[in-house]
Amino acid sequence: MKIIVDGKEIDAVLGETLLGAARRAGIHIPTLCYHESLEGQGRCRLCMVEVNEGGRKEVVASCTYPVKEGIEVTTSTPVIDKIRRNIIMLLYKRATGSPVMRQLFQEYGCPQNSLQENPEERCILCNICVRACEELGSSAISLIMRGTQKRVATPYDEAAAVCIGCGTCARVCPAGAIEMTEKEGIRVIWNKAFAMQACSRCGSYYASREEIAHLTARKPEYVIQSDLCEDCRKRMMAEKIAVFVSE
């Protein structure tokens, strides 16, 4: 189907979200709680856009709004811009400790106001870490409590039995809020320590043993040689190919 975004006609597929269609067409809509490998969540509300459906205008979250034939979308209006500025301001005040939020606060030209800042906090509660953990099959962390008390945590704030220390949560976090340290072959994340596997070739630590075991059990076809780090695995493949070609 065809939809119009900012005056430009783009292709969209029934069932996909407005954000998905716009991104594919190279149209930028800002987001904080969206990750391309996960479903839209509608949490941060930064992706709000104006949809005109047969004359009826509505402000919607583009990451959860399913495309409809014939809609006309405007990604930036004075109303939308103000919503985005306020969202950034609110998240900056909540998570003033996050460098990303400090930068966005400047970028969006948010006015200074008297609301208290929170320099200790970095998490913006986008839930991407939780969703990624779920998708990978661990569900070691989740959102707990509600309202202003809401936060990401392991069950009872203790080391989670199911956590495999893969560190995906820390890597996908847009705000740099998840603490992960590595020292002498020991990774510490979410109050749990993991012994790391050293690469049999270069000796560098590349994954927690629990992660390798989890992956081997779940997707054996992907684990070609589990004792090599990613770099060495590529190098080994390249060497094999080189031998094959020369023969």
């Binding site: 509300r45 919607v60 979250a61 709004y65 959102l143 202003t148």
Partner: protein
């Protein structure tokens, strides 16, 4: 005053709603059961039954005697012997238990003569207080399941037509036309459809759904079966908040009895229609009253709402077409089928048909449940039915629609309330809460109070609601503590716009109502908090000093006796004084003084 010719067949109805039970009505009921014996020489056949809530909780426990039509108020177990002896056996009234009209000072015998009931029009609450909720037979005796029988002679389209023509709008708050909702679900093709009754009544002080579920559970079940036929669903859920133990108990029993008697199950009334109902107990989150959060909760997920760009009628429970209606909406369905759409539509205002149940609470004389036609004015509800403001104080505002409703000032007392007029006035119908406030109420503090409630009850999923409410609360707290600035009011309005436009569900979208409505109608109060650092109502402690006016003080000692910190001193019959060092500004003396001798400085 005697009742002539005591009738042979007497019913003693003991109100056993939650309010009356809290005042000991179960003991009253048991005392009647124990003391009503067939006695030689007495030919009167009498039985007592425990009914649902009569609504007039202020005067409970209530006992009604039929057909004599006598209503006794504030009855205790110790009065039972006297009632049996005088009223039942000799046909005399127990005068001390009759209601005394505060204006005419006359004792009133029948509840029909009492102002609290006179202006009410019971539709959704029609059986409550009359029937025994634990008895299917009693329900059947009051035309129970007759509407269902009638619905079996109708096609699904006919049923939807009837509901649509009645003009019934959803009683849960949003006021969406029920018939249209059903129609949009009926046209969906799906392997499975669901039907939900929303009994997660979360507004503080609201208990209309509770009373229906407790007092007339079969009505809800009957309404749901008719709904299931209209849309083609075979499975229904009643989502009840966990705190409503009696509702769960009575509904559970009613479902069991309905199943055993062929009103639920594989072959309802022998007509080949299959439908059954399951009770789901909510965990007590306010936000789970929001339909999509409720559905997430039924599915076993966290109670977070979903964006509703696709309606539940298309994709609801487990992604299947679902209709979800509030308890009171379901209770209206059998009436519409039985009496006809036209009859129902003849009650109410232009665009809001039928009646609405309100829980009338706060600083009003007659607190309780009242059901009135849509379009009744606030003045009629608060002053005629409610009996006016407690202690003869002045009316200041009424907060409608629960914590995210707005505050309506005295100028709008003649507003005919329905879904649309309340929204226009900056408030909402919500589920029907009416909290009356008197002149000793600080409107800034009221806004702060409700935002505090909402900050705790926001699910925290979306940024505008979670962070926005919290920040508005921060500003309001500052103003109440005397640190507010004028630009704070602009910031409140600015944030409100974002909450309204960008929040995911109605909780965030309407959370601004308490703030915006008080800013609209009571702005000078905000300004006096900010500029003069003064709370004229004497509520905000940091801004209040109480003092005694010596010319008025009679030295009665009431304030001195009740002051929690002994800050008030004085000789008997001499003007008293308040020690400002000891005073914690609780306002107890101010509210208690019978002579108006305490002033807010």
């Amino acid at each position: 005053m005697t009742t002539q010719n005591p009738p042979d067949n007497r019913k003693i109805l003991v109100c056993c709603g939650t309010g009356c039970q809290a005042s000991g009505s179960m003991d009253v009921f048991l005392a009647f059961q124990n003391q009503l014996h067939p006695e030689p020489g007495v030919t009167v056949e009498t039985y007592a039954k425990a009914t649902g809530c009569n609504g007039w909780c202020e005067q409970g426990p209530l006992v009604k005697i039929l057909p004599d039509d006598i209503t006794y108020c504030r009855v205790q177990a110790k009065h039972v012997a006297e009632i049996i002896d005088k009223t039942i056996k000799q046909g005399e009234l127990v005068k001390k238990l009759l209601y005394r009209d505060p204006v005419t000072k006359k004792q009133v015998r029948s509840h029909h003569e009492i102002n609290f009931y006179k202006k009410q029009h019971k539709v959704a609450l029609r059986h409550i207080g009359e029937i025994d909720p634990a008895s299917l037979d009693d329900y059947l005796a009051y035309d129970g399941y007759k509407a269902l029988g009638q619905a079996f002679a109708m096609s699904p389209a006919d049923i939807i037509d009837e509901i649509e023509r009645s003009g019934l709008r959803g009683r849960g708050g949003a006021g969406f036309p029920t018939g249209r909702k059903w129609r949009s679900c009926a046209v969906q093709e799906a392997s499975e459809k669901y039907l939900v009754c929303n009994g997660d009544e979360g507004d503080p002080g609201a208990f209309m759904d509770r009373s229906i579920m407790e007092g007339d559970p079969h009505t809800v079940i009957e309404g749901m079966i008719i709904g299931s036929m209209a849309i083609g669903a075979h499975k229904g859920f009643i989502y009840v908040r966990d705190e409503y133990g009696l509702a769960v108990q009575n509904l559970g029993r009613a479902i069991q009895d309905a199943r055993a008697n062929g009103y639920l199950g594989e072959d309802i009334m022998g007509k080949g229609w299959a439908f059954d109902i399951e009770i789901v107990r909510g965990g007590g989150a306010f936000v789970c009253g929001e339909e999509t959060a409720l559905m997430n909760s039924i599915e076993g997920n966290a109670g977070e709402p979903r964006d509703k760009y696709v309606y539940p009628t298309e994709k609801g429970l487990w992604g299947k077409p679902t209709i979800i209606n509030n308890v009171e909406t379901w209770a209206n369905i059998p009436v519409i089928i039985l009496a006809g759409a036209e009859k129902f539509a003849s009650i109410g205002s232009k665009n809001s048909k039928g009646t609405k149940v309100f829980s009338l609470v706060g600083k009003v004389v007659n607190t309780g449940l009242v059901e009135v036609p849509m379009g009744t004015t606030l003045r009629e509800i608060i002053f005629d039915i409610g009996g006016g403001i407690l202690k003869g104080k002045a009316f200041k505002a009424v907060q409608t629609g629960g914590p995210s409703g707005g505050c309506i000032p005295a100028e709008l007392l003649d507003l005919e309330i329905d879904f649309d007029s309340l929204t226009e006035a900056g408030s909402m119908m919500g589920s029907g809460g009416l909290i009356v406030m008197d002149e000793h109420t600080c409107m800034v503090e009221v806004a702060r109070y409700y935002l505090h409630f909402l900050a705790g009850e926001s699910c925290g999923k979306c940024v505008p609601c979670r962070e926005g409410i919290d920040r508005m609360l921060e500003i309001l707290t500052r103003i109440c503590e005397g640190h507010g600035k004028m630009e704070d009011l602009d910031l409140l309005e600015d944030l409100s716009e974002t909450l309204k436009a960008a929040s995911s569900c109605a909780l965030g979208k309407t959370a601004t109502n308490p703030v915006l409505s008080t800013l609209r109608y009571f702005r000078p109060e905000y300004i006096s908090h900010i500029h003069e650092k003064r709370c004229a109502a004497g509520v905000c402690r940091s801004l209040t000093t109480f003092d005694i006016i010596p010319e008025i003080c009679t030295g009665c000692g009431l304030c001195e006796k009740n002051c929690p910190v002994q800050a008030i001193r004085g000789e008997k019959k001499e003007p008293h004084t308040i020690s400002q060092e000891l005073c914690i500004r609780c306002g107890d003396c101010f509210n208690r003084c019978n002579f108006g001798a305490i002033k807010v400085v």
